[in-house]
């Protein structure tokens, strides 16, 4: 169209009304024969790219030269062991009945069970816990019931557990396979040889499964709590380790850090006050770990620009914050009338700028916390322990130690997990107010 403009040709205005006229006749032409218009419209009015069924087949007439009759004829089933003859209707074409086996015979599949001779039994398969009769019976049942051990266990004469039967069966098979193999190398790939059946493990596994299945809701919640607490503790230990490992002469931090680490070992069975410290150290040690490592890497450089240093520190401080959070920080900075990159980046200006950014992160964090709490308050009256721990990033940026610690302490106080606090005062409180789990409790 632009080309026509350039060339100065008049735009062709005729095609539009022409198209409209030509469309209806074309539409009816597109409808295929063999299917009525309504049926075709079911597909959306358009032909499928690959026709699922060749529509011409549907109205096909059978070939005229064939004469079809239906006859009541006897048949045999090759899957049967006897010679029972039954009758059924058969489609006969031109007087010739169809050949071939009964069409369902191919579905009669069975498992190949190992068959051992008496000799082999004497040589390899003797077992103090099993008589030959029992073993034979087991194998016979396995053959009959295609290794469906539940059924076999039910049918077995003496009362043996499913695991025992499986164990006997698999160990017999394994022994036979090993005995019959010409060389060990040939069968090392055989799963029977590679991964033998482990009875005790199986028993344990099934027991554990049934336990999990039969857990009450109450129990489930408790387990989740304990796991959450364990995860939190490992995380805090990791954070402390990281802070420890960044070997920087940051004297102001070294003191409190070592003191706090000393309190760590005592935190497994500890009153709530001690537990407050780990969360505080998570916050400070994670932050200082980040800052410390950035400072260390800056020092490694012989020379650097102040703006570069600020960038690195900003990145380190917001390393655990998502992209959206970072954008919000920048937005807040703009609202406050502060340049995103300081115009006069002196040492003190950069330090102030960094501190401001950190404070804004704290602010955003607190806002989120407040939102969660308000949401909680409106839906549930009773707040309870956290099951899912909040992500470490939330915790990291709570610089107000007492605040963060309080929340942790509260949680621990109420817990009644095995091996942890079992202080008498806490239990009555707990029983009084059954607490529901809240995923966003922090």
């Amino acid at each position: 169209m632009d080309a026509k403009d350039i060339l100065g040709l008049p735009k062709n205005s005729l095609p539009i009304p022409q198209e409209k006229k030509s469309r209806p006749p074309k539409d009816s032409q597109r409808k295929p024969d063999g299917i009525s218009r309504e049926v075709y419209a079911l597909t959306g009015g358009l032909a499928p790219l690959m026709p699922a069924i060749d529509s011409s087949q549907l109205k096909k007439q059978p070939p005229k030269d064939e004469k079809i009759t239906w006859q009541w004829l006897p048949f045999t089933n090759s899957a049967r062991k006897d010679t029972l003859q039954l009758y059924h209707w058969v489609r006969v074409v031109n007087g010739v009945p169809p050949t071939g086996d009964y069409s369902f015979a191919k579905y009669n599949k069975s498992v190949d069970i190992v068959k051992y001779t008496d000799e082999e039994y004497e040589k390899y398969l003797n077992d103090p816990g099993w008589t030959k009769e029992e073993t034979d019976q087991l194998f016979d049942l396995c053959q009959r019931f295609d290794l469906r051990f539940i059924v076999i266990a039910d049918r077995f004469s003496s009362s043996r557990t499913v695991e025992e039967l499986k164990d006997r069966y698999y160990s017999v098979c394994r022994a036979i396979v090993v005995a019959r193999a010409p060389a060990l190398g040939d069968i090392s790939g055989n799963p029977l040889v590679k991964e033998p059946y482990n009875v005790s493990q199986e028993i344990e596994r099934k027991r554990a499964l049934s336990m999990v299945l039969s857990q009450t809701k109450h129990q489930e919640r408790k387990d989740a709590e304990v796991l959450a607490e364990a995860k939190r503790i490992t995380e805090s230990r990791m954070a402390a380790k990281v802070a420890e490992e960044s070997e920087l002469p940051v004297p102001s931090n070294a003191g409190p850090e070592s003191a706090e680490r000393a309190s760590f070992p005592g935190d497994t069975v500890s009153p709530s006050s001690n537990v407050q410290l780990p969360s505080a150290t998570i916050a400070s040690s994670a932050l200082t770990a980040d800052n410390a490592s950035t400072l260390a890497s800056l020092r490694m450089l012989r020379v650097y620009l102040r703006t570069y240093a600020l960038d690195q520190m900003v990145q380190a401080a917001s390393s655990s914050a998502g992209l959206r959070t970072i954008k919000r920080v920048e937005q807040t900075l703009q609202e406050l009338g502060v340049n995103l990159k300081p115009r006069v980046p002196t040492k003190s200006v950069c330090a102030e700028h960094l501190e401001l950014r950190k404070e804004i992160l704290t602010l955003l964090n607190l806002q989120k916390q407040l939102q969660y709490k308000e949401a909680e308050g409106s839906s549930f009256r009773d707040c309870s322990y956290a099951d899912t721990p909040s992500t470490p990033k939330d915790r990291t940026f709570v610089p107000d130690m007492s605040f963060g610690g309080e929340r942790v302490g509260k949680r621990d106080q109420k817990r009644k997990a095995p091996g942890r606090l079992s202080e008498a005062p806490s239990s009555p409180a707990q029983s009084k107010r059954p607490r529901k789990l809240k995923a966003s409790d922090l």
Binding site: V338, E352, L363, L370
Partner: protein, 269 residues
């Protein structure tokens, strides 16, 4: 921590000696060298600089290929002489210029040219051997046209684009420190207690030294002012606001937690 790479005479500022005292002077210099090469931790030397460009429209004299005359430069933030720290500056201009790599071996570190287009100039600062053997790269976009496009272009008033930054040397050598300890071009932190510097090297003859500072530069009237006070004020105000907001939120949160806290205190007993 001896810096073994710089074993040559480290400073042009050392006083010349002559005659019979030579031998003893040399051994003294050797030990001095060793001391001066030592790196200092916890002392950070920073050198505030401003780099940028100034462009004048040529008005009537403008041709198609030369509509502006401009200067790109690196100067001390307070217009001091950067020569104590910087040995050489290399300006990499657009490839359409003749010999686009311009090397300046002494202050004032600037390049003046005439042209029509805006492009990015790469500025590399090389320092004296006792300062740092790694160069620093800066990038500056040459601005010829003013922000306000509709405004009239004037031949008298240039379009100025400057950036402030500081070069930080985290572990300077003692020699460097000795050389610059009283020089206005650098900022030194307060030296740690018990720190003794070797005596400052005597300043060279004023007449021999070429003036490297830009205090009386012909373009100095257009230099931008970079004062950290404004920025600090702005930041302090912002921080206060944020802190107040944080306190408010904390109060709100503790109000919500109030009833739970009560329960906790009961169970605590």
């Amino acid at each position: 921590m001896n810096n073994s790479s710089s074993s040559k005479k480290h400073s042009p500022d050392q006083p010349e000696t002559s005659g019979p005292t030579f031998k003893s002077q040399r051994t003294k210099m050797d030990t001095e060298k060793k001391i001066l090469n030592k790196k200092l931790k916890d002392v950070e030397i920073s050198c505030p600089i401003v780099y940028g460009s100034m462009a004048f429209w040529l008005g009537k004299k403008a041709s198609e290929y030369q509509s502006h005359k401009w200067t790109v430069y690196v100067r001390g933030a307070m217009n001091e002489d950067l020569g104590v720290v910087v040995k050489r500056v290399v300006f990499q201009l657009h490839s359409s210029f003749n010999s686009p790599t311009r090397v300046l071996e002494s202050p004032p570190f600037e390049v003046s040219e005439a042209g029509w287009g805006e492009f990015e100039i790469a500025i590399t600062l090389y320092f004296h051997s006792d300062v740092c053997d790694k160069p620093v790269n800066l990038y500056h976009h040459l601005k010829l046209y003013p922000e306000d496009e509709s405004g009239p272009m004037s031949t008298k008033k240039p379009v100025v684009m400057e950036t402030y930054d500081e070069i930080v040397f985290p572990e300077p050598s003692e020699g460097f420190l000795a050389r610059v300890q009283n020089h206005p071009a650098v900022t030194l932190p307060r030296l740690p207690i018990g720190f003794t510097l070797p005596p400052p090297v005597p300043v060279e003859d004023a007449s021999r030294r070429k003036r490297g500072d830009t205090k009386d530069h012909p373009l100095s009237q257009w230099f931008m002012n970079f004062s950290e006070a404004d920025e600090l004020l702005q930041l302090a105000a912002a921080r206060q606001q944020v802190q107040a907001h944080i306190a408010k939120l904390k109060r709100q949160i503790s109000v919500i937690d109030g009833p739970h806290q009560q329960l906790k205190s009961i169970s605590d007993q």
